[in-house]
Symmetry: C2
Subunit: 308 residues, 2 copies
C-alpha cells in the first residue's frame, strides 16, 4: 500500500488534540509537513502558509485543512489546483454555495474532496441508525450544551461572521441527526441568542420536522457550566433511544446497549485513505444547510456580552 | 388543449397586481377559484383556506401559491398530496432544505412543482445572458434599491423571521445574476442592517465571487426614496452591459439594445402550463441558497427602527 503523504494546514487545538494522533494510528497515512502561521512540530517540515507549502514543501499527496472555516475555501481551491486531495474539518465552509465549485474542481482533477463530519463516526451512531430503521419514530430531542470557555479557549474566530458560534458544536448533533433519521429533516423555526458583542449566537433553539410532520427539537447552549450534555433522545413505537456522550453511548429505555472507545478521527482518516485511492469525493452539505436555514429564518435576540 | 384549472391561494397585492392578469392572458390557463382569508373576487368560488378549497371546491388541476413564504410549504404539501400541480411565488420557501421533500413528493406523484423567479423572465435577461456568453466578464455590480413603503405597504410578514426583508426584492436580482453568469457564484462576505424592531434586514451589502475570483458586489436597500434602482452592471473585455428596470432594459456602453414590455408573469404561466403537461418540476434553489449564506456568514448591524 502506498502511503498517503498528508500535510496538516492550521495547527491549532483540533489538529493537536485529534488529527495528529489519528494520522499516526491509521495505516496508509503519514504526516509529512505542517503549514501554520505560528505553530510547528519538531522534526517536521514547517511552512507559514499553504502557498509556501505547495511551492517549496516536500512531495505530498493530500492536505488536511484544520484552519478556521473562514479561510478554508481558498486553501482547498489552492490545494486542488495543485493536484492534492483535500480533507475539510467541519463545518465544510462559511457558506453552502461555496462548496459546489470545489466539488466540480475535485471531480475535474480526479482528486478527493472529503467534507468530514467526525461525530458521524462516533461508535454508537451506526448502531442507532440501524435500530431506528426498524422502528416508527415519534419524536426527537437534542440537548447539546457545553462550556465554550472549556472547549474553545481563545478561539475568537468562532464569534466572527462565518464562525457559527454555538452551531460549531451544534452542527455535530445535526450531522448525527441527518445520519440516523430515515427521512430528510428541515428547520421550521429557530431562536438565536446573540451576545451584544458577538457576530454568532451563543445559544439556539431549533424546531425541525420532516415531510410526515415528525416533531424534532434541539437546544444548543454554549453557557453550560457543570455537567455537559451531548445527547439525542429518540422516542419510538418500541422504546426510547438515548445517544449520549456525543454519540459514544447508546441506551434503549435506559439500558446501555453499545459503548465503545472514541475512534472518530481514525475513522475519518481511514475513510480519507480509502477515498483517495480512487479520487472519489464525499461532500454532504445537509448539516450546514440546516444551520444556514436556521440563520435565515431564525428569530434573533440579543443577550449579555460574552467575554472569554 | 385542455385548460389548466388554477386556484390562486393568497389574494394579496402580488396576486391582484400580477397573477390575475397573467392567468387571464395565457391560453390554456383558467382561474377557477380563490382561497384567501379575507379577499375574494366577484363571480369566483371563494374559500377561506387551502384545505377548504381542496375539500369543497370545484375541480382544479393546480394551485398558485401567492401567500407569504412562511405558510407556503405546508400549503404546497397539502396541494401535492391532493394531486394538484403547484406554482410557488418567490422565494420558494423560508428555508432551503424544506424544498427537497416537496420535490420528492412532486416527482412521486408525477405532478409539477414550479418554483418561480419572475425576474428571470424580464425581457432583457435572455439577451443579456447570450451577450455575456461570448465575453470575458471582469466584474459585476448590482444596485437594487427601492422604497419599501411604496412597494410593500402593510406587508408586515416581510419583517418577521423568514420574511427576508430587503432580500425579498434583492432575491430578484440574485435570480437574474445566477441566470446570466456562466459560472456559479457564492457569497464571501455580507453586511446586514437590521432595524432595531425587525427580524429581517432593511439593507444589505454582499460580496460574491466564482471559482475564478470574479468580483461581484451587490447593494440592496429598502430605504430608497426618489429614483428607484433595479440595475445590474457587468464590465466585460468588450464593453459594459447595463441591465436596468429590473431586467426590462439592456444597454451596451450606454446604448439601449433591447427594451420590451414586461411579460414576466405571463411567461411564468406559459411555462407552468407547459410543465404541467408532462408533470415536470422546475425548482432552482440557487438564489435562495445565496440569501441563506448571506444570513449565515453576514455581519449584522442594528439600525434605527422601521415604522411602516
Amino acid at each position: 500500500m502506498t502511503e498517503l503523504r498528508i500535510a496538516i494546514v492550521g495547527f491549532g487545538k483540533i489538529a493537536r488534540d485529534q488529527h495528529l494522533g489519528a494520522i499516526a494510528a491509521v495505516p496508509g497515512a503519514t504526516l509529512t509537513a505542517i503549514a501554520s502561521r505560528n505553530a510547528s512540530l519538531p522534526g517536521l517540515p514547517h511552512f507559514a502558509t499553504i502557498e509556501e507549502l505547495l511551492e517549496k514543501g516536500p512531495p505530498i499527496d493530500a492536505v488536511s485543512l484544520c484552519t478556521p472555516p473562514q479561510v478554508r475555501r481558498a486553501q482547498a481551491a489552492a490545494a486542488l489546483a495543485a493536484g492534492k486531495h483535500v480533507m475539510l474539518e467541519k463545518p465544510p465552509g462559511t457558506g453552502v454555495a461555496e462548496l459546489d465549485p470545489l466539488v466540480a474542481m475535485a471531480v475535474e482533477a480526479k482528486r478527493t474532496l472529503f467534507a468530514t463530519w467526525h461525530s458521524r463516526h462516533a461508535p454508537a451512531v451506526e448502531p442507532a441508525r440501524r435500530w431506528l430503521l426498524e422502528r416508527r419514530i415519534r419524536s426527537v430531542h437534542i440537548d447539546w450544551k457545553e462550556d465554550v470557555r472549556v472547549w474553545h479557549p481563545g478561539q475568537g474566530w468562532i464569534w466572527e461572521p462565518g464562525g457559527l458560534g454555538v452551531f460549531d458544536p451544534g452542527i455535530n448533533a445535526l450531522s448525527i441527526l441527518t445520519r440516523i433519521l430515515p427521512k430528510p429533516v428541515f428547520v421550521t423555526a429557530a431562536e438565536l441568542a446573540f451576545p451584544a458583542n458577538c457576530q454568532a449566537p451563543i445559544a439556539a433553539s431549533l424546531t425541525l420536522t420532516d415531510i410526515e410532520g415528525l416533531p424534532v427539537t434541539a437546544e444548543f447552549d454554549f453557557r453550560q457550566t457543570g455537567p455537559q450534555s451531548w445527547n439525542i433522545l429518540v422516542e419510538t413505537d418500541r422504546g426510547r433511544l438515548t445517544l449520549s456522550g456525543g454519540g459514544r453511548r447508546m441506551a434503549i429505555d435506559g439500558n446501555t446497549f453499545a459503548e465503545a472507545p472514541d475512534e472518530e478521527y481514525r475513522e475519518l482518516y481511514r475513510r480519507f485513505v480509502e477515498l483517495t485511492a480512487t479520487g472519489t469525493s464525499d461532500v454532504d452539505l445537509a448539516p450546514l444547510r440546516l444551520v444556514a436555514d436556521a440563520f435565515l429564518l431564525g428569530k434573533r435576540t440579543i443577550v449579555e456580552p460574552f467575554v472569554d
